[in-house]
Symmetry: C2
Subunit: 239 residues, 2 copies
DNA sequence: ACGATTCTGTGACGCAGGTCACATACCTAT
DNA sequence: ATAGGTATGTGACCTGCGTCACAGAATCGT
């Protein structure tokens, strides 16, 4: 089946072709069947919001395809991005488990497929499937780890340049083969959004990219970012 | 039984007088007995470290009495405090569940009692007691929430004054009776440590406290901090 | 009770980066 | 193409706060 936005839908969790690579979805068959029974699938366009900060939690969302950003804002318009959510991760888990209001807003960065798990059914499902509780634990644990990484980035950096370098390196990490001093990655965020991840202004991000290019540490064509000198970037952060 | 440092030890989890008020310890009797069987109790002086960032995780620690700080440092000496751990909370849970190295250092702020749960036994215990897994989830969920709060504080604040105001208000929150415009609390952290929580320098913290006193928003005698005007403090943060 | 640490308070100085104000480049739709 | 919106690039200005350098207070250990 095909949805709007040209998205190929994954209908069935049990036969999902990529479940093994995923933090939450890699469950035994019986458990997946139970999950399949309570989930409902939907697709969203870019810019759609799964939930908004402060809403009472309705349940959790498994991101099957696409990307999302999770952010909070202050009333004076400032925004900080808590994390970028990748396929296979679960959104709204903290609030659903803790039975609290959503602590952030989830907005799609691309056309995406999402499986919704209503709170009541999901909690009942967890109570009956100990295996799944463990996966919830692992997902929450990963959320914590990434939150701590962000705190490290925000708190330990002496300058915005350092924060940006940290970010680029953390993005490059998955693509990096040991031995090479280069990495290629497509950056799907705008300078504005990058600024919101590192707690800086949009102009500062633009300026830092300029000086990085000038120093031949990176080069950019369109959405393509080449890191030419990973060692050089590393030397910019005091770690 | 009494330990060094004049600490009255809680020997038995099953008969623990305060377990109900605690996030993790409020478990059914049978589960608590199983927990009791695998835990080992120890006491630590101020300054002792339960674990150090980067060590392979040995297990989780329940803080029964006392307080601890959880922090990471960069190699150039900068330090950021991730959170202050209160009695009844579990330390090292993220790393133990995620089976990764400890992502922070845990250091006692006061003489403390700690129950240690070795990794293997703890994971086996969780597999056998679904109820406990839920409590683990709740603790992890609380950890995430507090990490997100810290990110909000670091990222959304326009100034260090705002960050400090946020911190004071979050500390005051539990003590506050609705209607009053005052709160009293004892601050057990040094200016240096407060600075490490909000990502500022020690001098800045001292200076901000000076101006807050000058504006009659707070007053300080020794470790006692009176917030005289909660509304005034709130008006300092853009939220 | 003693010095020895460890905390707190304050001045002087410099610069990183926020803000404002534009100019230009890039998409997307009609 | 053309236009309207969004993203990027860059200069000018100014201020918050980090750093250094001390001095006084408080706390600790023996």
């Amino acid at each position: 089946m095909r949805s709007p936005y040209g998205l190929q839908i994954i209908e069935n969790c049990v036969t999902c072709p990529v479940k093994e690579q995923r933090l939450f979805c890699n469950l035994p068959k019986g458990t997946l069947q139970a999950l399949q029974a309570i989930k409902s699938t939907a697709t969203y366009p870019k810019g759609a919001m799964l939930f908004v900060e402060g809403q009472e939690s309705r349940g959790a969302f498994i991101l099957c395809k696409g990307k999302a950003k999770l952010y909070t804002s202050s009333s004076d318009g400032r925004t900080i991005i808590l994390r970028i959510v990748q396929p296979g991760e679960v959104l709204g888990l903290t609030s659903t488990i803790g039975n609290k209001a959503y602590e952030a807003t989830a907005e799609m960065l691309e056309p995406s497929q999402v499986n919704f798990l209503p709170k009541e059914e999901f909690l009942r499902f967890l109570a009956q499937h100990g295996e799944a509780s463990l996966h919830v634990g692992k997902q929450l644990s990963a959320n914590c780890a990434s939150a701590y990484d962000e705190i490290r980035c925000l708190g330990l950096s002496a300058s915005s340049t350092e924060k940006l370098a940290r970010m680029l390196l953390s993005w490059a990490a998955p693509e990096m083969k040991p031995g090479t001093n280069e990495a290629r990655l497509t950056l799907s965020l705008t300078h504005e959004e990058i600024a919101q991840m590192i707690g800086a202004s949009r102009e500062t991000v633009t300026r830092i990219f300029s000086t990085l290019k000038k120093k031949n540490l990176v080069s950019i064509k369109g959405a393509m970012l080449w890191i030419r000198d990973i060692g050089g970037l590393r030397r910019m952060i005091a770690n």
